[in-house]
C-alpha cells in the first residue's frame, strides 16, 4: 500500500544536527549557571515569591498584599507597624504582589497559598484597570513567544493554568509551558541584553532576599526620572476589562470567603494629568462594577477613592511609582485602611489594658 520510501531509502544520519543539539544543550547549561544575572527583575521577584509561598516554614501573616507591578513597592512593614499601633497587638503584613499577572494569576496564587499556609485575616488586593484583561497577559502568536504568559507559567503547573484559561488558549499555554523548560528560549530577551552588555554578567548583584525582605516583600525603588508625555500616553493605552477577569475575581472572592478572609480592594495612583484616558475609563468601569460584586460578596470592601492621582515626580515611568512615591502611598494607604474600616480589632483582636 505504501508508496513512500521515507526512512528505508537513506542511511544518512544527521550528524551535524545532532552535534548542534548537543552544543545547544551545553549553552543551555552555561546560561543556567548565570541564571540570576540573566533573569529580569520581574522574573527574580516572581521566582523568589514562588519559593517563599511554597516553603512550608513561611511564618504566619495576618494580612497579605496581592496585586500587580503597580503595588510592588508598597511597604508592607509600614502597614504592619501602623496597624500594630492601631490595634494594639502585633500585626504582620507581607507584600506578595507579582508583576505582569492578571486577575486569574492572583486567584491561582491565593489557591497555592491556602494549600500550604493558614489563611490570612485580610487580603489587600489591587489590580490596575489595564490588567483586568486576560488578553494583556497573553503573548503574540508565534514561535519563541514572550510576555506575561511566560511569567504566569513560571508560577503554576499546566493543570492549574488550564483551570483559569479557556480551552481556546490551552495551545498557547502549553507552548509557553514547553518553551519555559528551555532557559535559552524563555529568557531570550534577557540573554540578548546580557550578550549586548556582558559586563553585567560579572558585576556583583544583591541577593533577592535583601531587595525584597526589607519592606516585607515590598521592593525598594530609587527616584528615577519623572515620566515623559510619551510614557504616560503609552501607559494610558489600556485594553479594558474582560468578562473572564471579572469571573475569576469573583472566584477569588469566593475562595477568600470560604476561608474567612476579608478582601480590601484598593487602587494604586496614576500620574496627574491623566484625564479622559483608558485607565480612567477602566477605573470608572471598576467603580461601576465593583459595588455590584460587593453586593454578592460580603467579605469584599472597597477602599475609597478608587481612582487616585499623584504628582508626576512620584513616578519612575508612566504608571509605576518611584521610591518616594511608594513611601508616600504606603503611608496614605495605612491611614486610609485604619480610617475607613473598623473591622481591624475584630479580625486581629485587641489587647485590652
Amino acid at each position: 500500500m505504501r508508496k513512500n520510501l521515507f526512512i528505508s531509502n537513506s542511511k544518512a544520519v544527521p550528524l551535524a544536527l545532532l552535534g548542534c543539539l548537543l552544543l545547544l544543550l551545553v549553552t543551555e547549561g552555561v546560561a543556567r549557571q548565570y541564571a540570576d544575572r540573566i533573569r529580569s527583575f520581574s522574573d527574580l521577584i516572581i521566582l523568589y515569591k514562588k519559593n517563599l509561598v511554597e516553603d512550608e516554614q513561611l511564618p504566619y501573616f495576618n494580612g497579605v498584599l496581592l496585586g500587580d507591578s503597580r503595588i510592588l513597592g508598597v511597604d508592607a512593614r509600614l502597614i504592619s507597624d501602623k496597624l500594630t499601633q492601631s490595634v494594639g497587638r502585633n500585626v504582620s503584613f507581607y507584600n506578595f504582589s507579582l508583576p505582569e499577572h492578571d486577575v486569574r494569576g492572583y486567584y491561582l496564587f491565593l489557591k497555592k497559598y491556602l494549600k500550604r499556609h493558614r489563611p490570612p485575616a485580610v487580603i489587600l488586593f489591587s489590580v490596575s484597570s489595564d490588567n483586568w484583561s486576560g488578553e494583556n497577559n497573553l503573548p503574540k502568536s508565534g514561535v519563541f513567544m514572550s510576555g506575561g504568559l511566560h511569567r504566569t507559567c513560571l508560577l503554576f503547573s499546566m493543570a492549574e493554568l488550564a483551570e483559569v484559561y479557556p480551552w481556546t488558549f490551552w495551545g498557547m499555554v502549553f507552548t509557553a509551558k514547553i518553551e519555559g523548560t528551555s532557559f535559552l528560549i524563555s529568557h531570550r530577551r534577557m540573554i540578548r541584553n546580557a550578550l549586548e552588555n556582558p559586563v553585567r554578567l560579572w558585576a556583583p548583584y544583591p541577593p533577592m532576599a535583601n531587595v525584597t525582605l526589607g519592606r516585607n516583600g515590598g521592593v525598594h525603588f530609587g527616584v528615577g526620572h519623572p515620566p515623559s508625555e510619551e510614557q504616560i500616553r503609552q501607559a494610558n493605552a489600556g485594553t479594558g476589562v474582560d468578562a473572564q477577569s471579572i469571573f475569576w475575581f469573583e472566584k477569588f472572592l469566593w475562595l477568600a470567603r470560604e476561608h474567612g478572609i476579608r478582601v480590601v480592594f484598593f487602587s494604586a495612583p496614576w500620574p496627574q494629568g491623566m484625564v479622559l484616558n483608558s485607565p480612567v475609563e477602566g477605573a470608572d468601569f471598576l467603580k461601576g462594577i465593583l459595588p455590584g460584586i460587593q453586593g454578592r460578596y460580603e467579605n469584599m470592601f472597597i477602599l475609597e477613592p478608587v481612582f487616585v492621582t499623584y504628582p508626576r515626580e512620584f513616578f519612575r515611568d508612566g504608571e509605576h511609582l518611584n521610591g518616594p512615591g511608594f513611601d508616600q502611598f504606603s503611608e496614605g494607604l495605612a491611614q486610609r485602611l485604619i480610617g475607613q474600616f473598623n473591622f481591624w480589632p475584630d479580625i486581629f483582636g485587641r489587647v485590652l489594658d
Binding site: N9, S10, A12, L15, G19, L24, K140, I185
Partner: protein, 474 residues
C-alpha cells in the same frame, strides 16, 4: 496562517504525518483540503473567489482545447484573460483607478464622488490569478494538454506552499507533479527541512530585525537626514530580499519534503551587474512570467530597437503595477524599465570599451556595487507610501548631510552588520559555488557550527510574534 507561526508548524506536522501514510490519490485530496484550510484561515469568504478562478480556468481550458477553429480558441482565451484580469482589476485596482481619475479630474475643477469598493484585498490574488491564467495560455499555445481532472487542477492553483506569495508556478512544471505519484525520500526531506530552516532564518532573524531599522525612517521621513535614509535603504534592500526569499525558501522546502519540486525564485540578485541580469535573478517566477506572457507576445525584441524599448517599458510598467495599486509601484516599474532600456542602449558601447581597454579583474565587483546602489534607489520608490514621501526621501538622501560625520556613518554601518553577516557570508559561498544547497555539502563539523550559530541567532535575536511577509500585500 503564516509560515513563521506555530499555527503553521502544527498544521504542517499534521498534514505531513497523514501525507506520508496515504497513497497518491488520497495525498492529492489531503493537500487540496489542507490548501483550502490554509487559505481559509485568513478569510474563508475569499475561498469562493479561489474556487471561482479554479472552475473558470479549468472549464475555459477544456473549451480552448476542444475548439475546432483557431478563432474559437482565441475567443475562449480572451474570455479567460478578461475574466482573470477583471477579477484582479476589481479586487486590486478598482479603488486605485477611481481615486486616480478623481484626482485627475479635480485638476480640471471637475469634482466627482464615485463609489469605491470597501473590500479587503484577498491575500495572494495576484499570484494565483497569474498562475491560473498561465495555464489557459499554455493550453492555447499547445504547451500543455488541458487536464481532465478538476481536483488536479484545483491543487495546482491552490497548492498551499506557494499559494499566497509564489513562486508563480507554470502548469507545465507543477501539474505533472500533481498528476503523477511523487517520491518522498529522506534526502529530499533533509533538503526540504534545510531550505525551510534557512527561509525561516532569513525572515525571522534578518528581515524582521532590519524592519526595525527601516520602519522608523519611512514612518517619519520628514525628519530623516541623508545618512538615515541611506542606512534605511541598505537595510530595506536586504529586508525585502530576505522576506521574499525567505518565503520562497520555506515554500520550496515544505514542498520538497512532500516530494514536489518548486522553481527557484531568487538566485543571488545583488550579485547582478546589470538590470538584465538582476531580473534574471530577482523574483524569477514573475520576471519569466512577464517575459513569456507579456514581453514576447508584445513582440519582444523582434521588431527593431524602438519597439523593443517600448515592449520593455510596457512590461516593466505593468510589472510595477502588478506589485500594488499605487503610483509608487508604477514609478518603481518605470524606473526599472528605464534602467533596462538604458542598459540596452549603452551595453554595446560598454562592450566595445571593455574589448579595447583591459579592465582589471575586480571591475565586475565594482559594477556589482554600482548596480546594487541603483537597485537600492529603486527600493526607495518601492518602499515609499506616496510620491510626496519619495520627494522628501530623495531630498534628504542627496541634500541633508550636514552634521553627519565618520562616527555617525560607522554607527549606522555597525547597526546593520549583526543582522547581515551570516547572510552575506552564505550568499557569497552560494554564489561562488553556484549552489543554493552548498551548506549541505559542508563537512559535518562546519555544518554543526553553522546550524548552531543560526539557531542561537534565531533564539536570542529572532523577532517574536509572526510578522506578515511583505509580498502578501501583492
Amino acid at each position: 496562517m503564516l509560515f513563521n507561526s506555530l499555527q503553521f508548524f502544527i498544521f504542517f506536522v499534521i498534514v505531513y504525518s497523514l501525507y506520508l501514510i496515504l497513497n497518491h490519490k488520497w495525498q492529492n485530496r489531503l493537500l487540496l483540503v489542507a490548501s483550502y484550510i490554509f487559505y481559509g484561515a485568513w478569510d474563508w469568504r475569499f475561498l469562493t473567489l479561489l474556487w471561482f478562478s479554479t472552475l473558470m480556468d479549468f472549464f475555459l481550458a477544456r473549451r480552448i482545447e476542444g475548439a475546432f477553429s483557431q478563432t474559437t480558441k482565441r475567443r475562449w482565451l480572451i474570455c479567460s484573460v478578461v475574466l482573470n484580469l477583471g477579477i484582479l482589476g476589481i479586487f486590486k485596482y478598482f479603488n486605485f483607478f477611481v481615486d486616480s481619475l478623481q484626482c485627475l479630474l479635480s485638476y480640471f475643477h471637475i469634482h466627482l464622488s464615485p463609489a469605491t469598493l470597501h473590500i479587503v484585498l484577498p491575500v495572494g490574488i495576484s499570484f494565483y490569478t497569474f498562475q491560473s491564467l498561465s495555464y489557459t495560455i499554455d493550453v492555447y499555445y499547445g504547451k500543455i494538454k488541458a487536464t481532465r481532472y478538476l481536483s488536479d487542477f484545483a491543487l495546482y492553483v491552490a497548492f498551499f506552499p506557494q499559494l499566497v506569495a509564489g513562486p508563480i508556478e507554470r502548469a507545465t512544471h507543477l501539474l505533472p507533479q500533481v498528476s503523477s505519484p511523487r517520491r518522498v525520500t529522506l534526502e529530499g526531506f533533509y533538503q526540504g527541512c534545510f531550505l525551510a530552516f534557512w527561509g525561516f532564518f532569513e525572515k525571522v532573524f534578518v528581515a524582521d530585525n532590519l524592519a526595525k531599522i527601516v520602519d522608523p525612517v519611512f514612518t517619519n521621513s520628514s525628519a530623516a537626514n541623508g545618512l538615515e535614509v541611506l542606512t534605511a535603504l541598505y537595510a530595506f534592500a536586504f529586508q525585502i530580499f530576505c522576506d521574499f526569499d525567505g518565503y520562497s525558501n520555506i515554500a520550496r522546502g515544505v514542498a520538497q519534503c512532500m516530494g514536489f519540486e518548486i522553481m527557484v525564485n531568487f538566485r543571488w540578485p545583488y550579485f547582478a551587474v546589470s538590470p538584465r541580469e538582476f531580473w534574471q535573478r530577482w523574483h524569477i517566477s514573475l520576471s519569466t512570467w512577464l517575459k513569456d506572457y507579456l514581453y514576447i507576445p508584445l513582440g519582444g525584441n523582434r521588431g527593431g530597437e524602438l519597439k523593443t524599448y517600448r515592449n520593455l517599458f510596457i512590461t516593466m510598467f505593468l510589472g510595477g503595477l502588478w506589485h500594488g495599486a499605487s503610483w509608487t509601484f508604477v514609478l518603481w516599474g518605470v524606473y526599472h524599465g528605464s534602467l533596462l532600456i538604458l542598459h540596452r542602449l549603452f551595453s554595446p558601447l560598454v562592450r566595445n570599451i571593455s574589448r579595447n581597454i583591459c579592465f582589471p579583474s575586480w571591475s565586475r565587483n565594482l559594477q556589482m556595487v554600482l548596480f546594487f546602489h541603483l537597485v537600492c534607489f529603486g527600493w526607495l520608490l518601492f518602499r515609499s507610501t506616496s510620491i510626496g514621501q519619495i520627494g522628501q526621501m530623495v531630498h534628504a538622501l542627496f541634500g541633508q548631510w550636514s552634521g553627519v560625520g565618520f562616527q555617525e556613518g560607522l554607527k549606522a554601518a555597525v547597526s546593520l552588520v549583526p543582522f547581515l553577516w551570516i547572510l552575506l557570508l552564505i550568499q557569497i559561498v552560494q554564489y561562488v559555488r553556484n549552489d543554493p544547497l552548498v551548506m549541505l555539502k559542508f563537512r559535518p563539523l562546519t555544518r554543526m557550527v553553522f546550524y548552531y550559530v543560526c539557531l542561537m541567532a534565531l533564539i536570542v535575536w529572532g523577532e517574536t510574534g509572526a510578522k506578515e511577509f511583505i509580498y502578501f500585500q501583492f
